[in-house]
Every structure is written in C-alpha cells, then in structure tokens.
Symmetry: C2
Subunit: 195 residues, 2 copies
C-alpha cells in the first residue's frame, strides 16, 4: 500500500481506484473503498472527487484516454496519409485487443463503467474520430483521398471498422482469421477513400 504521507494527487487516487476495480470488480469503486485502499480519510479523497459518480467517471476517462494517447502520435505524423491511416487503425485494434486480452476481468469491469459514463465514451469517440479526420483531411489535401467532407468520412471509417475496436466484439478478437478479416475491411475502406 502507498504510504499515506505521500502527497495525495488525483492521479494517485485514480491509480488506487483502478487497483480496487481490478481486485473487487465494478461494484466496489466507491470513495470509501478507495480511501481505505490508500490508507487516507475519505474526506481527503472527496477533496479531489466530490462524488462517487465523479470518481468513477474520472477513472473511466483515464482508461479510455490511455488508448487515444497512443494514437495521437500516429495521426500527427507528417507522412503518407494512406499508410498513416492503416497504421492508426491497426494500432487502435492492437490497443483494444491488448486491453481485452491481458486482463479480461478488468476489461469487463470497465465495460460496466463505460455503460454508466456515456459522456466520457462520447468524448473518447469524438477524440478518435477527430484524429481520423486529421489523417483524411491530409489525404484530401495531397490528393491521395477524394473526401469532400473529412469529418463525415472519418465517422464512416470509424463505423465501418467497428468490428475491430468496439468492445462489444471483444469475444470475436481471438478468432483465428481475425487479422485477415481486419485486412479485408481496411483494404475495402482505403480503396473507398482513394476512389
């Protein structure tokens, strides 16, 4: 257990919250549980997160942001938009599969939390489609893609590839030919952007 004399930051509270979720599942992430895990008074947790709902939303957002952060770099790279799009979609799929596969119980716990925190999920999707919009706009600027409305096209690409990032499909991600399925959809989408 982290000694309670360390400065109690929001990040430290969220780390402890994730540890509580990992050990005990979605029901146990309350301010009292987290304060107990940190060995601090619950008043000191309340100073950072005023309600149980705020704490749960923040830990959900932190979990979602870990995925987007790993993709931001790819979206911003100054190189061929088609290669960048393929790499970005592959990185998104890899990140989601890793989350689902490395710790299935924590993944299931976070699925409960995302169901409760639709605003955090909406912001996450806006962030991801914003990154896609940037790549598609760059492609339209160089003439690699024909999109006239990059934001609408980005959303269509996000929807068309849902099988490879929507957690609702996690049970299909260990199918033996899932990589071939992914490649077939990405090829179709990329050809659609080029045309």
């Amino acid at each position: 257990m982290t000694p309670s004399t360390e400065t109690l930051t929001a990040e430290r509270i969220l780390e402890a919250t994730e540890e509580v979720l990992r050990r005990h599942g979605p029901a146990k992430a309350t301010v009292v549980d987290v304060a107990r895990a940190l060995g601090v008074s619950h008043g000191s947790v309340y100073r950072h997160f005023r309600t149980k709902a705020a704490l749960r939303e923040a830990v959900t957002k932190r979990w979602l942001d870990r995925t987007s952060a790993s993709l931001t770099g790819i979206a911003a790279e100054p190189r061929d938009p088609e290669a960048r799009l393929r790499d970005w979609l592959a990185a998104l799929f890899t990140a989601k599969r890793r989350k689902a596969g490395d710790d299935p119980e924590l993944f299931a716990t976070y699925l409960v939390l995302t169901g409760e925190n639709v605003e955090a999920v909406g912001a996450h999707i806006t962030d991801l489609t914003g990154q896609l919009t940037r790549i598609i706009r760059d492609g339209a600027d160089t003439g690699a893609f024909t999109a006239t409305d990059p934001a609408t096209t980005a959303r269509a690409v996000f929807h068309a590839t849902a099988r490879f990032h929507d957690p609702g499909y996690a049970q299909d991600w260990d199918q033996p030919d899932i990589e071939a399925q992914f490649e077939a959809v990405v090829d179709l989408v990329v050809r659609g952007l080029r045309a």
Copy 2:
C-alpha cells in the same frame, strides 16, 4: 387459442412458441408451455421437437429466416449490381430496425435465444454473406466491381456495415442521423468495390 383438433404441424407449434415467447419472455419457451398454449399433450409436441433445445433452435431459425427470405429476391434480381447492393443493404437494415422497433420485448427475447443458438446464427450469417457474394460476383463479371475474391469481399462488406444490422447496435438505430450514417458507410463501401 387454436383448437387442438387441427393438424399439429411443426409450423403451428413454432407459431405458438413465438406467441409464448411474446407473452412470457425467453424463460417460458419449453415444450410443456407450448403444449399448454396449444391445448395438446406435450407428447404430440415432442413428436416434432424432441427436446426443449430443438424447439428453441427451430423458433430462432424461423425468426432469422424471415429476414433472409425478404432479401433473397433482391440478391437474385438481374439488374445493376451496385443498385442491387445498395437496395439489399437498405432492406437488411430496414428489416432489422423493424424487428427491433415494432416489438422491443420480443426482440430482446430473441437476442437471448440467438445467444443460445450460435449454430443457427452462423447459418444465418452464411446465408446473408452468400447473397452478398452473389451480388458482388455479378458486379465483378460485369466489370462494375473489381473484387477478385467475391466471398472474402462479401464478408468485408458485411463486417463494414455491421452497425446497421448487428442487433448489438439496436439502441443506436433511432439516432436522428442514423440514415445519414448508413448512407456514408454504404457510399464508402460501394466506392471501395468500384475502385
């Protein structure tokens, strides 16, 4: 209630099973429940369906087949493959939305049943992607589409449009711009096929 003197066909039993499901939810579709609803001995139901599992699988298959049957005609029409593909995808989306919207409780009940009957669902998906393969092969034959492997491409089209037929997305189907989302994905997919 249907008089028990009528000939007891498999179809009559399945109709009664669906009625039992509609009234009482997924737990109640047992042979005994259905025999009671028909006013017949359960022995006479067992003559058609030897187990509760067989009865539940057959009623699930019947429900899924109602969707595919409405699409077979479109897949087989001797006309422009691109228009046929667009109409087929729109008809699939319409059929699924209608099922979800007209009777949400029965839809939820059938979702429980499809979860139990993965083989019936697999056969349904094989049927649908087979219809798509036919349209895409026709398009490749006329030169409208460039697909070299129509079956693989058909599966990619099915996956890319999952948001508009997978029952897991039913809660999104009354979003105000869902038609625009559908058009954007279908346009992207059709351009990908043409290229």
